[in-house]
C-alpha cells in the first residue's frame, strides 16, 4: 500500500509539470506586453524596453519557462502581481480559505441531500418519491448555477429578506452560496447513490440477510450501504475537487473574495502571473484531492487494496 501511494505521488510530478507548461504557454501566447502593462500606457518607450530586458522577456520561450519552474520549485516564487506588486503566492493563499470554505460547505450540502435521497429512491424504486427525486436531480444538473444563485438572491434576499446576498463571514452568508454551488453535486450524488444501492441490493448476500430474517432497515443501512457507498465516496471526492475549480461563478455572484474571483479580475486587468499561478494552484489542489480519493478508495475496497500488497 505504501508503495502504491508513493508511486502515485511520484506520478504527480509529470502531471504538475505538464499543467505548468500548458498554463505558461497560454499566458505566453496572450497578447499584450507585460512590461507595458506594468508601467502603464503613458510610460516612455525606453523604460519599457529596459524593463523587458530586466524581466527577461526577450529570452527564448523555453528559457523563460525554465526560469518560471526553477523559481517556483526552488524559491516557491510564482512571480509578482502586475497590479498589486505582491507575490502571486500570497495573493492566492490569502484568498484560498474562502474558496475552500465555499467548496466544503457546498459538498456538505450535497452529501446531506444526496445520500439520503439516493437511499430512499433506491429502496422505493419506481415509487412517487423515486420519480420526483429523479426529475429533481435532472433539473439540478440542468440548472446553470449562476442563474440559480441569482434566483435565490431574488427570492430569499430581495423578496423575503431571509439571507444576505453577498459576503461569506457568517453562517447566514454561506447558506445561499453553499446551496448554489452544491446543487448539481447533490444531484450527481443522489443519482450515484441510487444506482449503486440498486446494484448492491440485488446481490446474494443481501438476499441471505433477508432470508435469515434480518430487519429491512438494518439491511439497508448496514449491509447494503457499506458497499454501495464506495463508488459514492469517489464521486464526492471528485465533486469536491471540481467545486474548488468551479467556484469561479458562485464567487462572482455572491461577491466572495476567493481564488476564482481573483482570477477573473486578473484576466480583466491582464495580470498574467496571477492567472498563471491561480490555475496552477487550483490544478495542483484538484490533482491532490483526486489522489487522496484514489487512495481512500483503495482503503475502502479491500479488493483494490490487495492488488498493491
Amino acid at each position: 500500500m505504501h508503495k502504491y501511494i508513493f508511486k502515485r505521488i511520484i506520478m504527480l510530478i509529470p502531471v504538475i509539470l505538464g499543467v505548468s507548461f500548458i498554463v505558461f504557454t497560454l499566458m505566453y501566447l496572450t497578447p499584450g506586453d507585460p512590461a507595458r502593462i506594468m508601467l502603464g500606457e503613458s510610460a516612455p518607450e525606453e523604460d519599457v524596453i529596459r524593463l523587458q530586458e530586466e524581466m527577461g522577456l526577450n529570452d527564448p520561450f523555453l528559457v523563460q519557462y525554465g526560469r518560471y519552474v526553477r523559481d517556483a520549485v526552488v524559491y516557491q516564487d510564482l512571480g509578482r502581481s502586475y497590479t498589486s506588486n505582491r507575490p502571486v503566492f500570497t495573493e492566492i493563499i490569502t484568498r484560498f480559505p474562502a474558496t475552500f470554505k465555499l467548496a466544503a460547505t457546498g459538498v456538505a450540502v450535497a452529501i446531506a441531500v444526496g445520500i439520503p435521497t439516493g437511499i430512499i429512491s433506491a429502496t422505493k424504486q419506481y415509487s412517487l418519491f423515486d420519480s420526483v427525486s429523479m426529475v429533481a436531480a435532472l433539473i439540478g444538473v440542468s440548472m446553470p448555477n449562476f442563474w440559480q444563485g441569482l434566483m435565490m438572491i431574488l427570492l430569499f434576499s430581495v423578496n423575503l429578506g431571509w439571507f444576505p446576498s453577498s459576503g461569506y463571514n457568517t453562517v447566514s452568508h454561506m447558506i445561499l452560496p453553499a446551496i448554489t454551488i452544491g446543487t448539481s453535486s447533490a444531484a450527481i450524488i443522489t443519482r450515484m447513490t441510487r444506482s449503486s444501492m440498486l446494484e448492491v441490493i440485488r446481490q446474494d448476500y443481501i438476499r441471505t440477510a433477508r432470508a435469515k430474517g434480518q430487519n429491512e432497515t438494518i439491511i439497508t443501512l448496514k449491509h447494503a450501504l457499506k458497499n454501495a457507498l464506495i463508488p459514492v465516496v469517489t464521486v464526492i471526492g471528485l465533486q469536491f475537487g471540481y467545486l474548488l475549480g468551479g467556484a469561479v461563478l458562485t464567487e462572482s455572484i455572491f461577491s466572495i473574495p476567493g481564488v476564482g474571483r481573483l482570477m477573473v479580475d486578473s484576466i480583466k486587468s491582464r495580470d498574467f502571473p496571477v492567472v498563471q499561478g491561480g490555475v496552477l494552484f487550483i490544478a495542483i489542489t484538484f490533482t491532490i484531492v483526486n489522489l487522496f480519493v484514489d487512495i481512500l478508495y483503495a482503503f475502502l475496497d479491500p479488493r483494490i487494496k490487495s492488488q498493491y500488497q
Binding site: 509529470p14 502531471v15 504538475i16 505538464g18 499543467v19 507548461f21 500548458i22 498554463v23 497560454l26 499566458m27 501566447l29 496572450t30 497578447p31 435532472l138 433539473i139 444538473v141 440542468s142 440548472m143 446553470p144 449562476f146 442563474w147 440559480q148 441569482l150 434566483m151 438572491i153 431574488l154 430581495v158 441510487r194 444506482s195 440498486l198 446494484e199 475537487g241 471540481y242 474548488l244 475549480g245 468551479g246 469561479v248 461563478l249 462572482s252 455572484i253 482570477m263 477573473v264 484576466i267 480583466k268 492567472v275 490555475v279 487550483i282 490544478a283 484538484f286 490533482t287
Partner: protein, 303 residues
Amino acid sequence: MDGTKVDVKKSGDSLSKVPNKKRKTGPWRDVWQRLKKNKMAMFGLVVIGLLVFAALFAEQIAPYGFDDQNLQDRLLSPNSQYLLGTDNFGRDIFSRIIFGARISLQVGFIAVGISAIVGGAFGAIAGYYGGKLDNFIMRVMDVLLAIPGILLAISIVAALGPGLVNVMIAVGIGSVPQYARIVRASILSIRDQEFVEAARAVGANDFRIIMKHIIPNSLAPIIVQATLGVASAILSAAGLSFIGLGIQPPTPEWGAMLSTGRDYLRDHWHVATFPGLAIMITIFGLNLLGDGLRDALDPRLKN
C-alpha cells in the same frame, strides 16, 4: 433505408425476420425503437427539436430583431406587446432568447464537434497503435484533465481573447480528453476482434480500418457523450459569457443576457429570469435525450 418500408409497418417482431443483407440498418432501428418507448427521452427530443426549429427560423418567429432598441420601452415587465418584457435598451427579451438559441446551439454543437474530432483522433491513434505513442498521448490527456474544465476554458479565452469562435475553441479543448479516453477504450476492446483481423488480412490499411471498421463500432458511447457534452458546452459557454469573458454584447447570448439582468435583479426580475430558464430548458432536454440514448444504446446498463 431503402427496402425497409415493409418492416417498419410490421414494427416490433419484424426485426428477427430481417434477412442478412439489412443488417446495416438493423441495430440503429433497434435503438430508435427502444428510444421511442422512453417518454422522457422523447420529451427531450421534442424540446431539442423545437429549439433547433427556433434557431433556424429565428427571423420568422421572433416578433422583433435581436438588436431592435425601443428606448421608450426600457425595462418593461412581461406584457402583451413584449411577451417576456424588455431589457435596459428596450429590446424584446423573447426575441433575443429566440436568436440566442442560434448562438447557444451553435456553440454547443461546434464545441463538441471540435472535442469529438480532436479527442477522437488522438484516442484512435493511441488505442490503435498502443505502446509509447499511446502512453505519451494519454499522459498529455491526463494533464489536460488535471485542470478543471471551466478554468482551462477561462485560461484559453484569456489567451485568445473573448468572442464566439474563441469560446467554441476554449470549451471544445476542455473536453478533448474525455473523447480521447472513450475512443481509446472502445478501440482497445475492438482492435483484436476477428473482423478487424479479417479486414487487415484482405489488405485494408490502418486508416481504412480505423475509419470503416473501428469508429462505427465505437460510436455508441461517443454519441451519448456528445449529447451530454453539448449540454455542458452550452453551460460552460454561458458561464464564460456571464463573467464577461465569453461572447460579448450586443450578441444575444443567454449567459451574457443573464449578466445584464444581474444588474437589474432588484427591480426588474424578468431580465435575468428568462434567459436562465432558456438555458435550463435546453440543458434539461439534452440531458433527458442523452440519458435515453444511453439506455437505448446499451440496455444492459439500465437500472
